[in-house]
């Protein structure tokens, strides 16, 4: 879907990143890389620095040490909106949607950067954009809510809307912060299926923070585990599942 890069470098590279808040070291010397077209998991106990790392990657927190590269370009000092326009988009753990707008307006606000020039900004929108918005709302099962105020949706529905908005943005890579948290069990399978299809059909690379081990072990090809702000272990799901350090720090004995 996206043109191939000349280099063989990973799509996203985090190199020795350290982030401190005052005396607290939230991320210490973390390195990880995500290959184009893959689904990678990021796990770890609460407070282990997963969301902080997301915030560092997308430019929300300036990093203290290290480098972050995306598409072969160093993005460590870029602004949030600039990085998003490069095709690296994140969702939030606590949903962030535009509460006083309708679902369809939320979708139209999430159009890809290429569709947000001055002519589009001061235009009335194209029919194709609307069709795409409705298609994606249908994809996450919110079609019938299209005229509802987004703020009136339940938490789970807002989560789905935020996911649809992220897809509308046509990113090359999505950072998802606990996509299944707060979503009822019957819906989780559907959501996982949609995440997989976003990866396989739309070619979107995924980096996913997730506490639901059944979900992440099934979905991810490779997993990084953080603890106390440091990288504890990394490897394919089966290795992580059996890694004694990960079991001690996070998974526990089941």
């Amino acid at each position: 879907m996206h043109e191939l890069q000349a280099t063989d470098r990973p799509l996203l590279e985090v190199k020795h990143v350290t982030k401190r808040f005052g005396g607290v070291v939230a991320n210490h010397d973390i390195s990880l890389s995500v290959e184009r077209g893959t689904i990678v998991g990021l796990i770890g106990p609460n407070g282990s620095g997963k969301t902080t790392l997301f915030n560092c990657i997308v430019g929300h927190h300036p990093i203290d040490e290290g480098e972050i590269w995306f598409k072969g370009q160093e993005i460590s000092r870029y602004r949030v909106d600039h990085i998003a326009r490069m095709g690296l988009v994140r969702t939030f753990q606590q949903t962030h949607i535009f509460g006083r707008m309708t679902c369809i307006e939320n979708m139209l606000t999430s159009l890809p950067p290429a569709r947000r020039g001055l002519r589009d900004l001061f235009g009335h929108g194209r029919r194709a954009d609307r069709a795409r918005a409705l298609e994606l709302l249908e994809f996450v099962g919110l079609y019938s809510k299209r005229h509802h105020q987004a703020g009136s949706l339940s938490f789970g529905q807002q989560k789905l809307l935020e996911f649809a908005m992220a897809l509308m943005n046509e990113p090359e890579m999505l950072l998802l912060d606990e996509p299944t948290a707060g979503i009822n069990p019957t819906l989780i399978n559907g959501l996982v299926d949609r995440l997989r299809r976003a990866n396989s059909e739309m070619g979107i690379t995924l980096l996913v923070i997730e506490h639901n081990m059944r979900v992440i072990m099934n979905m991810a090809e490779y997993i990084y585990c953080l603890a106390h702000g440091e990288l504890l272990a990394s490897g394919p799901p089966e290795d992580i599942r059996n890694d004694q350090r990960v079991i001690d720090a996070y998974l526990g004995v089941s």
């Binding site: 949030v80 998003a84 326009r85 962030h96 949607i97 707008m101 307006e105 009335h124 249908e138 789905l160």
Partner: protein, 354 residues
Amino acid sequence: MSTRTAGIIAYAALFAIGLFGPWLFPAHLSQFSKLWLFMVLALSWDLLGGQTGYNSFGNIMFFGIGMYASAVLQVGLIYPVADYTAAKGGGTEFVFSAQQIYAGLALGVPFGGLVAMLAAVVFGALLLGMRGHYFAIATLGLAVATAELAAGWDYIGAGSGMIAPPLPNDIDGTRLFYYLSFALAMLTIAFLAWLYATRFRLAINAIRDDEDKAEALGHYTVRNKMAAWAISALFTGLAGAIYGNLSRFIDPHDIAFNAEVGVWMILMAILGGMGTLWGPVIGAIVFFISKELFWTYLLGWQRVALGALIVVIVVFFPEGIVGWVKNRWPRLFAPPTEEDSPRQPDNGGEAAHA
């Protein structure tokens, strides 16, 4: 009846009333001129405050800047401005012909708007990185500083102010400025109706609802905020330019940078309903008529009555008149039953994937 049709009818009604104003309310023409200009202030304040979610307590500075800029150009086209202001309006040698007045207005009023707009771009670059209360307080400080600057600058008459170019006897100033004010109000409503129908409204509403999210989606949030404030300042400046001519005497504190008017423009938007096109229009009408009644019938107590009205507005109409109507008769504002082709049914995200 769709809301769009209702809007067109309201606009036509306002247009008709305004057009025949000199015959409908000949004795109160200058009050109604002020009403039209106040409407512009409320509408343009709401573009940033209501639609973009950035509460500027300093928009009055654009009113004053537009007023002075226009007056300076109107005078400067004919006479040296410093000599004119030094005479403090006493100099009988400063006469303007009808052509000079019309040319001055045609150039001066747009110039006032443009200078105000330019000021918003400069101030925006400095202030729009701040959010919430910080931005509000910073704009307040800026407005106070601008007023003091104007009151200390001899070129524009410093503390004793400036007189707008005197009209020759063959111009009916009351009627001229009434129609200018009316035209500006109608232009502002029409322009904002167009603007709010474009994607730009979604872009600035996104900033209001969740600026972090808008950034995370790659929006040019800074550019969009600047554009909103610049447009807001343009119309506020145009209103100021006309107001200076209407009131004739431009005093830095009492007319141009009048802090009270700076608060009123916000109150009108709140009263009518922030974040809507018609809220500020309705708010301006209700507020202005109440204010004029208080000043006429409750003289001595007029500010007490106005204060009480403000409390009533905030307590009983937190979402404004338009918001109140929307809550009471939600059906009037039901989503359009539009062209979307029927799809396979879902039940709002409850459907497990098949």
